[in-house]
């Protein structure tokens, strides 16, 4: 029995020492664990943002002109945005509430054609409450950069070009376009945010069309249709008109003034040429 007593006592002493150290370290461990869960929440939020928000707010949250405001901008974090919309609560509440409920009515001073949808399941959206919380943590994490005075690197293609193309469908004459670059622009400019109407991809593809025609073929036939109200005489002109002057002709069953009206100001000649070059190839 004596060796058992010795081993048992040793175990009690050892366990007590370990537990005492554990107790001393517990506040630090808990703080680290809390930071860890916040980090994982930001990771989860980044994933949700990537899958749901980038089409309107841009891959890095810099916003897409005429479509949705920037989130990764200084005004978001210096109080200007809160003052603009007249929000009396905290920035966290503003972000959480906006993501949860969406924007059923336009914010002060904005004329975005689309309303932001509701995201929280509480209000009929697709995201669980914990996901809205993760997303909020991710979006507000951009604020760190502004606190520390680091300028975010905004992808080059999304910046507004210096010389805009204007709303005339004949002048200026467009340079020759690059179809592959145009296809990429449909994502970076945010076209696909609204134009995904089919299970197979954007609505301009042939795959989702009832007649099996891509937008290139549709453009060529629409200009000669009796109900056409625009001024285009070629498929290229029709596409240009649809982008810079969306209300010149609206296809039956779509309401007018739904599309962003500002592409004449925000697109360069080259961008527009690339877009059209891509779209006409879709037969």
């Amino acid at each position: 029995m004596t060796w058992r007593t010795a081993v048992g006592m040793l175990a009690v002493v050892l366990t007590s020492i370990v537990t005492a150290f554990w107790l001393i370290n517990e506040p630090a461990r808990m703080a680290e664990a809390a930071e860890g869960f916040e980090g994982r929440s930001i990771e989860a939020g980044a994933d949700i943002f990537e899958n749901n928000c980038t089409r309107c707010h841009g891959p890095q949250g810099q916003g897409l002109p005429g479509l949705a405001p920037g989130l990764n901008i200084p005004e978001m974090f210096d109080g200007a945005r809160l003052a603009e919309v007249g929000w009396a609560g905290s920035l966290h509440d503003f972000a959480y509430a906006t993501i949860s409920g969406g924007r059923p009515m336009p914010s002060a001073g904005t004329t975005y054609p689309q309303r932001m949808p509701t995201w929280s399941q509480e209000f009929g959206g697709p995201l669980r409450i914990d996901q809205v919380r993760d997303l909020t943590n991710f979006v507000l994490n951009w604020g760190l950069a502004y606190e520390q005075g680091v300028n975010p690197t905004v992808p080059e293609v999304a910046t507004i070009p210096v010389e805009s193309v204007g709303t005339d469908i004949n002048t200026p004459e467009l340079p020759s376009g690059d179809a592959a670059a145009g296809e990429e622009l449909t994502t970076t400019l945010g076209c696909v945010a609204c134009h995904i109407h089919t299970d197979v991809g954007p609505a301009w593809l042939a795959e989702g069309d009832p007649n099996g025609e891509g937008i290139g073929s549709r453009a060529a036939t629409r200009i000669s249709a009796s109900e056409y109200t625009g001024t285009a005489i070629t498929a290229e002109q029709y596409l240009r008109e649809s982008i810079v002057l969306p209300d010149a002709f609206v296809v039956d069953s779509y309401p007018p003034s739904t599309m962003v009206m500002t592409y004449g100001e925000t697109l360069s000649k080259q961008y527009l040429a690339n877009l059209i070059a891509y779209l006409v190839t879709l037969k």
Binding site: M1, R4, V7, G8, A11, V12, L14, T15, V18, T19, W22, L23, E26, P27, R29, M30, A31, E32, A33, A34, E35, G36, F37, E38, G39, R40, I42, E43, A44, A46, D47, E50, R128, I129, D130, Q131, F138, N141, W142, L144, A145, Q148, V150
Partner: protein, 521 residues
Amino acid sequence: MALFQIHIPIIDDIKAQGLVPTLLAKTDEAVTRLTAGLNVGEIRSVLRGDPPKRPNPRTKPHADGFWMHMRPTYFHKKVMPLYPTFRLGWLAVYFLTIETITGLVLMLWYTPSPLVAFENMQDIMSNVPFGMMMRDLHRLGAEFMVMVVLLHMLRTFITGSYKKPRQFTWFTGGVLLLLTLFLSFSGYLLPWDQLSLWAVTIGASMAEATPVIGREVNLLVRGGPDFGTNGLLRFYLLHVFALPLIAFIFVGVHYYKVIIHAHSLPPGDEQVGEDTARKVPMDTRSYFLPDVATKEVYWIVMWTALLILMVTVGGWHAPLEPHADSQVTPLHTTAPWYFLWLQGMLKLGDKVFWGVIAPGILVNLVFVLPYLEVGPSRRYIHRRVGLTIAAVSVVAFSALTYMGTPFYAVSSSADQEVVAALVPQTHPGPLRSTPFEQLPSGEYSATQWKNAPSGGLRELLELFQHELHKYDKELPDSEGIMIIEDWQIGLKKVTLRVLWNDGDNSFAQNVFIHQNSGYEE
């Protein structure tokens, strides 16, 4: 005449004998009452292991006290060593106690609702002092308890202790085995993370295979077509109320039967067909006080020390995966390890036969075993067939368990397997465990792993390349690319891309990694 008179006897004693002797005498008296018969001197004598006085005062607590009346006064010397019992039944009760204590602590911070359950777990781990330790002990104790109960059953079979007159003891043990499995299984769902939701979903999918009433059984178990608010509440109530209640009752019945029949002696120590466990001659008695009691104290100390050391310096921690998401099934999800054999059987074919009928027959065989197998001898030499069947069963269950793991007959595409080797969906895995600063931004090819700028990245790319090689047949001319981008301050985006057929086919997956996420440990 006084209206009332107060008489405090202790004051008389203090006046007569002095303060200290009186207090000592009163303490001794209180201890004697609490122990139902042992005074301080006798307790010290028990702990020292002195031989008892005549008449033996140490039998009095067994006769007069509530708790000690449940324990026998003495055991047969032959059942005192590690063999034949290995203390496995005792250990099962020990773990049941540990689970009850730690479980009651955890209940204080837990609400069974999908809206807050996961957040509660995070709070327990990051905002409750010793909360994580309690959770780790609870989870580790549960794993041990399942193992101990299984081994206890195996031991009882091997020593033939289920034979007459202990058939019913075995039967109640079978009930306790099922209760242990379902206690552990029902607790699995409560953290409401991806691991728990999908492990339990797989386990519960067996219910759906029940013939005729499968749909109803499924609805009853899950509280709806899928696990949600109702399913979590049901599992919680099963876990903290219904199953423990039934388990405590059956532990009582089981242990009462053990005491009534006494522990069976080692098979070679009695005549074939005889049961002499209850006839314990004076010279073969080992008294509960002091022998068994001190050994039990020793075992409690050692096992508690082992558990605490494992969850502290040992680094054993209960996993917590991301929040449960019924829309996203993680690749390689499995049932809990003690139900893997069932998952393995399901891979053999028909869901109704292998998922319901075959396990049903097996479980029922366990219950009726002592009534079917009535050979009189407990000796190993006479039970070659039975022991062979036991050995074959252990091997078969191990094989089925292996077959239940994702390593056996799970068809998923090779490109996804390669990526999952770096970022598995059931545990953090190599990429998330790599220190944040060892992931410098840039574009890296797996073939160039030797040129990677950091040690952590080198290991990851080498693993990437190794995995691609493994699937050379499915992914001809493959190339692995890892792109690391700074996404936010403290956040990186890692894109894993697998190209094959010279770049004609590709698969890519993004992972975001935050510097504080703390997966590495």
